[in-house]
Amino acid sequence: MQDAVTTITVTGAPGRSAGGDERWRMVARNIFPFVVVGTIWEIVAWAGVFPHRLFPTLEEVALSFVQLTIAGILPHHAIETVIRLLTGFTLAAVFGVTIGVLMGRSRRAEDIFLPLVSIGAPIPGLAYAPLFLLWFGLGNISAVLLVGFVAAFPIIFNSWTGVKAVKEIWVRSAQSMGADDRRMFRHVILPGALPYILTGLRLGLAQAWRILVAIEMLAAVPWGLGWMIFGAREFLNTDVMMAGIAVIGIIGLTLEKLVFQKIEHYTVVRWGMITA
């Protein structure tokens, strides 16, 4: 996957040499800091300032990364984690957007939910973790439910704000043009609130991702990157831990860059709600 991308850039570059130069300089500029940090890391690791087991060289980390990937262990962990993330996040998105939109549309729903949500939100999600573990047992159900529960708060808040922030004049002009409730909701309220809802989903996903790694460590799920890192600690496998952290970083970056920026681009920006 990574290779394919690089090849495309390489073959694509010579066509426009001026632009290619610029691009190469960009790439070099972005890589340079990593080279510096990597070199410092290597020097420290080779110098033996810290015990070798605790501070492996980058080659060892890369090696265990490759070995674990080939053996299928790393992909298995990663897939389980991503499935858990998506399940929890879907739960949060469905309930969060529904509750948030209801709160924005109906005064009664707002009065009912707002106190509950305001009390639940300031408590850090992980503080609920032991409670969930007791109620739902160790394993998947607790992890997914906790992720969903924690991710729901930013989604609720942002959907609520978004619906309230829809311009009064749009609502009134749609009404005067004879839109019924359904059309009003589909064609005015929903698109109008969408930038906020998307922000909420984005924050919710980020929240879910942070919590998931920790809950995997606590809930003793059979597979999962958080669990892999935590388990590797027992055996002082620092290289495995660092490989796991790298995968977590890659997944986090991919979620942000590929999923949300794309969605935003295709919906909100295209409708002209915000400039790209």
Partner: protein, 263 residues
């Protein structure tokens, strides 16, 4: 309906909602359908909260947690604000640090807990460093975008009136960027607060609110867990409303800058 009447009605409804929720919970807890050890009644939770506050143990745990949060949060300000300003003012600094920061940011702080446990052992150092890691990024990013978004007109106006570098920095750039910096502090504290609870659970030391909750799980002391949850929520709420709210009023709003950046 007047504004005040509106607010009174909301308050009454909020009270009704909370009472109803409490009643439902109490009914569930007393129904005997769930094990009482897992679902303690509200009076039991209140008693646990009162007892742990009265003998000072909960306060001591809270003091440990607060110490870790403040230490890590303070470190993140010491590093994040100057670095953010440097990144915004000097191109080479930005070119060097921005790729690094973007690569580290998507790694959740909890992923580093096991690694830090190996490196720094169990206890304060690990927790403080995790808090520091979690809080630095919002601090850094908000400072960076705050300094970059200072109105260039103000800079030129100050320059035309003969401001030197130093007064330009203290009188124009810092106040101009302050709404963003305060937003950054707010977000950073929120992150720090989340991180400290998690780090205390995973890197279990002997003290701290996160540890209380996790330890109570071992003995099925659900009432103590819920009492600690109340304390955690209360402290978080207090900081968010009182500390950062009044900080904002004392600086940004007094200087007449609207809250340009509310994360």
């Amino acid at each position: 309906m007047t504004d005040q009447g509106q607010r009174a009605r909301s308050l009454i409804r909020a009270a009704i909602t909370l009472t109803a929720a409490a009643a439902v919970y109490e009914a569930l807890a007393r129904s005997g359908y769930f094990a009482p050890a897992l679902l303690p009644t509200i009076p039991l939770i209140a008693r646990a909260l009162y007892a742990s506050l009265a003998d000072g143990s909960m306060l001591e745990h809270a003091a440990f947690t607060l110490y870790r949060v403040m230490f890590g949060f303070g470190l993140s300000m010491v590093v994040g604000i100057p670095l953010g300003i440097l990144m915004a003012r000097f191109r080479p600094v930005e070119n060097f640090f921005l790729p690094l920061v973007s690569a580290l940011m998507p790694i959740p702080s909890f992923a580093l807990v096991p690694l830090f446990m190996l490196w720094f052992g169990i206890g304060n150092t690990t927790t403080v460093l995790i808090v520091f890691y979690a809080a630095t990024f919002p601090m850094l990013f908000n400072t960076w975008s705050g300094v970059r978004s200072v109105n260039p007109l103000w800079l030129r106006a100050a320059g035309a009136m003969g401001a030197d570098e130093q007064s330009l920095f203290w009188k124009v750039i810092i106040p101009g960027a302050s709404p963003f910096i305060i937003t950054g502090m707010r977000q950073a504290f929120l992150r720090a607060w989340i991180a400290v609870v998690g780090a205390e659970m995973i890197a279990a030391s002997d003290w701290g609110l996160g540890w209380v909750i996790f330890d109570a799980k071992e003995f099925l002391n659900t009432d103590i867990m819920l009492a600690a949850l109340v304390v955690i929520g209360a402290i978080g709420y207090l900081f968010e409303r009182l500390v950062f709210g009044s900080l904002e009023r004392a600086t940004v709003q007094r200087w007449g800058m609207t809250r340009a950046a509310k994360g």
